[in-house]
Symmetry: C2
Subunit: 218 residues, 2 copies
């Protein structure tokens, strides 16, 4: 049987997985709002962010309680601090989804993403959403090999971002400055969501193995 | 005389102030590289970031030592965790300065910022640099009223960012997509630097008073 500290820590990681699921919904729905110019979906993403913010505060309180009452040292201490950092990153990922939803809302009834660059943006969104989906499962299973694999997929996002710039800055771009600025910022938001997913996966590796797969920071 | 815990905590806050000074240099120099298309200055900002990264790791280790050996509870515990968060934010501000320097380097020998929008970008950079400068002093002095004042100045950055979009998206914009995309991303980077400065200032308020001036997160 696990001791009180580890039971409470498991509860915290359960909460992190739940929040990660909420973030996944935010990313997927923000993308839907973006690609379909759906203002209601955009509004829902924006207003739901407060659920994630509240959940973060609760996890932080649980972590402080764990630190205060259980006084963990060595690896246990670092695991609680890792949980605190993971929840901060999840909250940021929620904020970034809100930024995507706000660009969608700003352009309604137009779609912010012109047809010819839609496949690239849709793919970025898909990669980001998939990374969030997988990191939730990585938190649940404490799956080190899946976490290390996720880190490698970061390169795909970099390639997509470069591809989007090639399109935006090419002679064929006929959609003007506004659409280009939207796409550049959207690319930045999806890239940051992916970065945070990788960082969280690395923290799971640390939680399980006690060593960082690389120097990670959010 | 202060006890060992508070002496060590003071040392950590001294380190935070030092790192904040390094971040200020990074912001100022990245801006210089940007506005003067100075590739050497850009390279220096990019390579110096590793100094900030190393300093962050050292502060983190000191914080873990404090938590492990001194086992602080209640407010003391929260102050150490606040210090851990502050150093994470300072490191991000360094990264954001590197992003600015990389845009500068990419456009050399051209200046990435066209003349007519230069005053707006220069003002954004100045506001961000000034906020970093002030937050360093706020860390040194634990100055609550200066910290609260800093929070109010965030609005200036929002106004500048809106002004930059008005210029980019106006009919008079004659510098094409590439420059517009650069300016939009630069605006985002300076805005994030300012956000982090406000967040750090709020954490100082918490460290001194035990209460957050508002729900803050980085």
């Amino acid at each position: 049987m696990r001791d009180v500290f580890h039971e409470q820590l498991d509860a915290v990681f359960g909460d992190l997985a739940t929040i990660c699921g909420q973030v996944e919904t935010a990313v997927v729905q923000a993308t839907k709002a973006l690609l379909e110019a759906d203002v209601e979906v955009a509004e829902r993403v924006i207003s739901s962010d407060e659920v994630i913010d509240r959940a973060r505060v609760e996890v932080e309180e649980k972590c402080f309680e764990l630190l205060s009452l259980q006084q963990p040292v060595a690896t246990d201490l670092r695991v609680v601090v890792a949980a605190l950092r993971m929840v901060t990153e999840l909250e940021r990922m929620g904020d970034l989804s809100v930024h995507v939803a706000k660009i969608a809302r700003m352009r309604v009834p137009e779609v912010a993403v012109p047809g010819e660059i839609r496949p690239t943006v849709a793919r970025m969104a898909e990669v980001a959403g998939d990374m969030v989906h997988r990191v939730r499962q990585i938190i649940v299973d404490r799956d080190v090999s899946a976490a290390i694999e996720l880190g490698r997929d970061d390169e795909i996002m970099d390639q997509l971002r470069r591809a989007s710039f090639t399109q935006l800055l090419g002679d064929d771009w006929a959609h003007g400055v506004e659409a280009a600025v939207d796409i550049a910022l959207l690319g930045r938001y999806y890239e940051r969501i992916a970065d945070h997913a990788v960082s969280i996966a690395n923290r799971v590796v640390f939680v399980v193995t006690g060593t960082d797969p690389r120097a990670v920071e959010a």
